[in-house]
């Protein structure tokens, strides 16, 4: 509604009705101002609630990020949790535990920077990553659950050991997975990003690594 202004000519007597009119127009117009915001860019993240039943449907849980100066060499043939640097603590998510109810999903992204590698035994040069979690199902005791398949890589271009064998290092590994809660309730107290090698004579060095879990409640 447009609020008009009345222009009075010099010498014209104004009336109470004329003087009241703009105010009454605003009373009428402002009564129609609703709570629905229709303007674009009306909301920012500040407006999104983080609690209650209508909370923001996205809840991220971060693993720490390390820079290239924090690295560790791995030659283990059984799965071991990737740590934040040599002698560092295992990379852990913040804000745990994560509580999932039936149908809720947990989107997981993990990545690391594989740098130097030692490729001694070219006939046993596979290595794998995986994500495991400690999950308590429906009020039970927490148990270790492998969330993902074994994500396999190889250090070399061939496995025969014959002729020219190329070795691959210095590249990022990026892994994603979606976990769906099929139980009434799952309480996830820990998520680990793990690695193992096929043979201990080989090794890989891992620098920057990250792990992020994103809970979707909607």
């Amino acid at each position: 509604m447009t609020i008009n202004s009345k222009v009075f000519e010099p010498g014209t007597l104004t009336s109470a009705a004329d003087a009241n009119q703009p105010h009454e127009d605003i009373v009428t117009a402002s009564a129609a101002i609703g709570a629905d915001a229709t303007r674009t860019e009306w909301a920012s993240f500040k407006h999104i609630t983080t609690s209650g039943k209508d909370a923001h449907p996205i809840t991220p849980y971060m693993g720490k990020v390390e820079d290239a100066t924090h690295f560790k060499v791995y030659d283990n043939t059984a799965y071991a949790t990737i740590e934040g640097g040599a002698g560092g603590t295992p990379m852990a998510l913040t804000g745990l535990p994560i509580t999932l109810t039936a149908g809720q999903t947990l989107r997981l992204h993990a990545g690391c920077f594989v740098t130097e590698v030692t490729h001694t035994d070219v006939t046993a040069d596979y290595y794998w990553f995986r994500l495991v979690a400690e999950i308590a199902v429906d009020g039970g005791a927490a148990g270790t659950v492998q969330l993902t398949p074994d994500w396999g890589y190889s250090l070399g271009s061939t496995r025969s050991g014959e002729g020219f064998v190329q070795t691959y290092g210095y590249q990022r590994v990026g892994l994603s997975w979606v976990h769906v809660c099929k139980n009434t309730e799952e309480i996830i107290s820990e998520v680990d990003f793990q690695v193992k090698l096929e043979d201990a004579s080989n090794d890989i060095t891992i620098a920057e690594c990250h792990l992020i879990a994103i809970k979707t409640t909607a």
């Binding site: 009336s15 109470a16 009705a17 003087a19 009241n20 105010h23 009454e24 605003i26 009373v27 117009a29 402002s30 009564a31 101002i33 609703g34 709570a35 915001a37 674009t40 860019e41 909301a43 993240f45 500040k46 407006h47 999104i48 609630t49 039943k53 909370a55 923001h56 996205i58 991220p60 971060m62 693993g63 990020v65 820079d67 290239a68 992204h109 993990a110 990545g111 920077f113 490729h119 035994d121 070219v122 050991g161 020219f164 064998v165 190329q166 070795t167 691959y168 290092g169 210095y170 590249q171 990022r172 990026g174 994603s176 920057e208 990250h210 992020i212 994103i214 979707t216 409640t217 909607a218």
Partner: protein, 230 residues
């Protein structure tokens, strides 16, 4: 909140100056400060509003349904091939002192608060037809491990940990002896990287290459930037 008309004027009565001032002041205050019904209080928007889908129009590229996300996607048509070359370097074509920002994958991301950006990207990289993108451009093995790099640049800082190349090493059956770094001459390179904490404000993110070949190119690419606030 609707406007309340405080002192209506009455016919056949003198208009009092104080009443006029009071009404004018009330109107000024209402217009400047008190129209609040349409204001959205902090922490008041929940999942029902978000799932409706309107937030797509909040700003371009924003989708609250999966974090604040911005995407770049270019299909792999020949016409959209973008080239890069070592000839951008005035001298020393094999040096790594001049980097080329890959077209149509960069983004300026605005953070409302301090946060992280999760970067997922896939880029099809094509080197000279018969050469890997190694530093002497003949596919041979070299010792010093220098070569074309693809990295993510954040505010001009080319992160070493965002290498996308493969490192090739001659095993020498079985003892490794020589090595060099190279991007294979034609491959889809994926990358996943979570930034360090970034301060509120604008951040320029680009993918850069240190070209050491005469003619390389990229074709299809798909990049997503997902923002998570602390």
């Amino acid at each position: 909140m609707p406007y309340v008309f405080g002192i209506p004027y009455v016919a056949n009565s003198f208009m009092d100056g104080d009443d006029v001032n009071t009404n004018n002041e009330a109107l000024r205050k209402y217009l400047n400060k008190d129209i609040v019904s349409a204001d959205i209080a902090d922490g008041s928007v929940g999942s029902p509003e978000i799932v409706k889908g309107e937030p797509q129009f909040v700003t371009s590229d924003h989708q609250f349904t999966c974090g604040s996300e911005a995407n770049q996607f270019t299909p792999g048509e020949d016409i959209q091939r973008d080239y890069f070359t070592a000839h951008i370097k005035p001298t020393l074509a094999l040096a790594d002192d001049l980097w080329w920002a890959l077209p149509n994958v960069g983004k300026k991301v605005h953070l409302e608060r301090d946060g992280y950006i999760l970067i997922h990207a896939g880029i099809e990289v094509i080197s000279d037809l018969n050469f890997a993108m190694d530093y002497d451009n003949d596919g041979s093995v070299n010792n010093d491990g220098e070569g074309s790099d693809l990295r993510i640049s954040i505010n001009g800082d080319r992160k070493e940990v965002t290498y996308m190349l493969s490192f090739e090493e001659e095993a020498g059956s079985p003892t490794p002896s020589q090595s060099h770094a190279a991007i294979a001459k034609r491959r889809w390179y994926p990358i996943s990287y979570l930034t360090e904490t970034l301060a509120a404000g604008d951040h320029d993110i680009t993918f850069v290459v240190n070209p050491v070949v005469d003619m390389g190119s990229i074709r299809s690419r798909n990049v997503s930037y997902e923002v998570f606030y602390i």
